[in-house]
Subunit: 331 residues, 4 copies
């Protein structure tokens, strides 16, 4: 892998991963999962859409659920700092041959749609309606008490491909996993907001949304959300974990929503903003080494949410990660 | 299963599960595991033996490690209340055709050896040397900060068999797992000290010691001990969990020591001492239902520590629990 | 203080602290405090009475709130093991010149009323109606998720006085605080159920109920219940703590209910049941030493719930504990 | 207070609060406090200086302890993004009449010294030597497991005064406390790195360093560090808390080092980087309202670390916060 040289003077200021827009087939079931179980705060809702935010978010939404016939990821939302940055972004994308459209989206300022080079549909906005932070409203805390959206991992057939696009925007490589002894990249962790991930690319048929990751408070919360899930009939929705990440370092648990969309709940990331803070390389063997949890099941590697109207492309080479199936069979 | 009628007037007063005596093949390795990793307090040690206690124990030891050529469980230790109870116990066992011998054991008062009807070697004592409780010695806390020994599960070919022996001693049935729609017992959880388990029987080739269970403080501790295990080279020793029990209700994690002896770390049990508190029945399907953790690997069901000089007997019928291997293969 | 010699052959078998019966002046306000905030499970209620239990209790109630004109403690409830033990208890009390009456109480088996030598009204029963343990019903957990009643501290003018009464019943001294260099007792911690306290005596005008203590799960819970209290308008009800006990070792927080009745929430006690486990002596200076929390306010030492119809007597000597008022004034 | 209009196009890019340089009178005692108790990682040390970092920091140091005759704060360290930003900073400060000097500091790139308008000595650097992040090195975790430096509150006689200086650098107002019904500022919370505080100003004789704040992991850690402090002879160093902040929302505990320098340990801040995220106003009465902990002692408001060679100036008006002394006296 060619490590992308950071761009310290990007053409516009993108600030962070912002929100996920998902198509779900049964709003009531999704609400039971995201609100009653996980504990998202409802900012607004009508019969077709639910706007959700974490308890530490003042922005109107970090997760939007839309009723649809087919479960899909609609868009990955990113923030620009100012409206002026949005204008510059449009100019930049158009020039780069990635046609960008202005659209209107409820509760968001002017919004810009563009597909990244891997075909993932993005939307950029600079402002949203503002809501109260609910951190101290303890009586409204439920479930995992999600704090805020952190990052989006995407599966793409070639992880090298999107790097230049994000590098140009000033998004920096925080860490990457490479095949031992090579510079062959497997996972790349990119960050803009000063903690290690805003967007992550992993190899697989894509572009598809692997998951949206939300920060949760502490050890207790990991067990409580799993226990609560089991109590409320969502035991099978706990897909992987709790466990401990190598890259990123956080505790994690992955859950699947009623449509199979995946979220990660994890505890807080480290800060990562200094110029001398070089991208951290992990060898695949190191990153995949068993910490203490068992490996993920095969489907964790292969299943992901397709984007609306985007046909996934198979990667040239199939990976062969250590799955739970292999591990249990082998040992 | 015939639910044993409690004996409210036992012939002698046995009070609790007391200590585990294990043969280990490399004391230094065992010490690294039990002391440096798990965090037991060393009460005394010499070149052949290490005496360990939890931070909340004033008794001299709840775990004894003896250097030996072969890894075995030597004895399961139980407490009688007074020396007089020990005398009565000897009389009772002799009369019951279970010959009991007086022995001397370091740091213990007069000690009585007897095998239970399943052949498990027990030792009863009424007193031990006293050591300071270390609960507030926070600078001496390490690892999982084990609090105290709680209970011993044993594999036996016929779980029905030992019940009468323990019932006679006033040990009460707290809960049991039975095959759905039958009274066919699978696991029986017996208690004497007022929390749900002192000794537990599960079906399998035996008698063998499945594990010794020690209470640990809280959610944080479960993740910390797993993380620490991975840091210190003991990742593979984390065998099962963290997860949540049905019967017993506790959070748990099972670990294997360097010889393969198994310990359970769990958080505190409920209290269970009232006369109207009927044995709780769990159907096998209920107890085995996935809470949120994956099922245990097959070896968790089949591997256990043999007792010194006791040849395990196979059960008449083999069980067929839901193992991780089956689960992963099937779903 | 004369350390009471334990009675290993008590005339009847009392097993544990059982329940607290409180008179409250506004049931709705008390319900908001105990159920909505603290998280007790309602076993039964009508317009005059609320029966509460902790999530780990199968007994019908450990806390009974009765509507009354004046806030008082009605009775301290204790358990005998069997109905036969109750009969023996009546015989024993009558013989000792402490007249005991049979009464009927809802959801309790036959119940025996007697006043202890300090005049504290007790009630003994052997059985209660049984309710499901709610430990795994995570969606019904609220607030501090109280597990179970643990112990009752009472203020009495002479702590020496009740000792013989409880000693005779087989209640054992677990620990005591004495004036440095003397055997002059200040606090005495008595236990019957094998963890360090069932009933505690401290010097003060009495008999009065200082508090009822309930076990709660873990570190997280201490902060959550305080935060929730502040959110729900109960900030001023947090009276003392969170802090760390010397004797008993537990983390604690004391709260006052809307009538001023006090509860302690603490995490689990150590086990204490072996015969060689001598009463632990704490010098007053040691026990009162600042761990890290500030000292309690004066009112924590002096305010307590009067018993119905029992006029408190002043102690011969006034104590002079280190109060927050003194501490802040002096340092 | 005039709310400073954010400067979205600052003359140079300052990125975050970076490090604290303290003069201490006994390095061994300070090491016992910061390393053995609190758990900082030693990056380097010699007989005169100890360089410390948190377990989540890759930068060489966030806390520097220098042996000196008098306990003082030497400098407050800030980061610029690039060396070019440092050059621009020098140009900017010189032009603003705040003479800036280049200096060399061990383990730091080129370093710029300047005093802010209140007279607080700052030092800016763009790079430091890099050290491994120790997040997963669980066996090296001790005490509070400090993660990273977060922010510096300073006492100044006029909190309005430094605002323009920091505003110009693009540091944004996240929140402020004002006297009820006025725009009279009391505390101002400024942030640059996207969580709510990098530098904070509060009224008092100054400039003096009130404390340096470090993030710690979770509920458990707050109790553990206090318990450990008491065990290790540092009970009196626990000055205020644990408690819950209004502004900033975090759990906190304040400790004093052996020289009286103050640190805050708190859990993680919320994210705060969107343009529409208006400064949050707290009325003094709201911010000072009792959450559940008692108010701080008077000395928490008045004692702070003087800067080397800088004579504090008294504020024109003395504040009159609710202190523990007043609270205890009044209620």
């Amino acid at each position: 892998m060619t490590i992308p040289k950071p761009n310290y003077h990007p053409p516009f200021n993108v600030t962070r991963a912002s929100h996920s827009v998902l198509h779900v087939t049964d709003l009531a079931k999704s609400r039971a999962f995201y609100v009653d179980l996980i504990g998202f705060i409802v900012s607004d809702e009508d019969k077709d859409t639910i706007y959700l935010r974490g308890v530490a978010e003042a922005c109107h939404h970090s997760l939007v659920l839309k009723r649809a016939d087919v479960a899909r990821s609609e868009r990955v939302g990113m923030r620009c700092f100012t409206e002026e940055d949005l204008e510059k972004a449009k100019f930049h994308f158009d020039k780069a041959g990635l046609p960008a459209q202005w659209v209107e989206r409820p509760y968001q300022g002017r919004t810009l749609h563009v597909n990244d080079p891997a075909g993932a549909p993005l939307e950029f906005c600079a402002t949203m309606a503002v809501k109260p932070r609910m951190i101290l409203s303890f009586k409204d805390h439920r479930g995992a008490v999600p704090q805020r959206l952190a990052h989006f991992p995407l599966l793409v057939p070639d992880v090298q491909r999107p790097l230049e696009f994000y590098r140009t925007m000033g998004v920096r490589l925080a860490a990457y996993i490479a095949v031992d002894g090579t510079e062959d990249p497997l996972f790349v962790f990119l960050q803009r907001k000063g903690n290690p991930h805003d967007i992550v690319f992993a190899p697989g048929a894509g572009p598809r949304l692997h998951h949206a990751a939300f920060a949760i408070p502490e050890s207790y919360t990991f067990f409580y959300i799993c226990d609560l899930a089991a109590t409320m009939g969502f035991a099978e929705n706990v897909e992987f974990g709790p466990g401990r990440h190598g890259p990123g370092y956080a505790l994690f648990v992955y859950m699947r929503d009623p449509d199979g969309h995946r979220i990660e709940l994890f505890n807080t990331h480290y800060q990562c903003m200094d110029i001398e803070d070089e991208p951290l390389r992990w060898n695949a063997s190191e990153a995949a080494q068993r910490r203490w949890q068992l490996p993920a099941r095969e489907r964790w590697y292969t299943q992901a949410s397709r984007f609306v109207g985007v046909e996934p492309k198979e990667p040239a080479r199939k990976g062969s990660p250590m799955t739970l199936e292999k591990y249990v069979g082998a040992v």
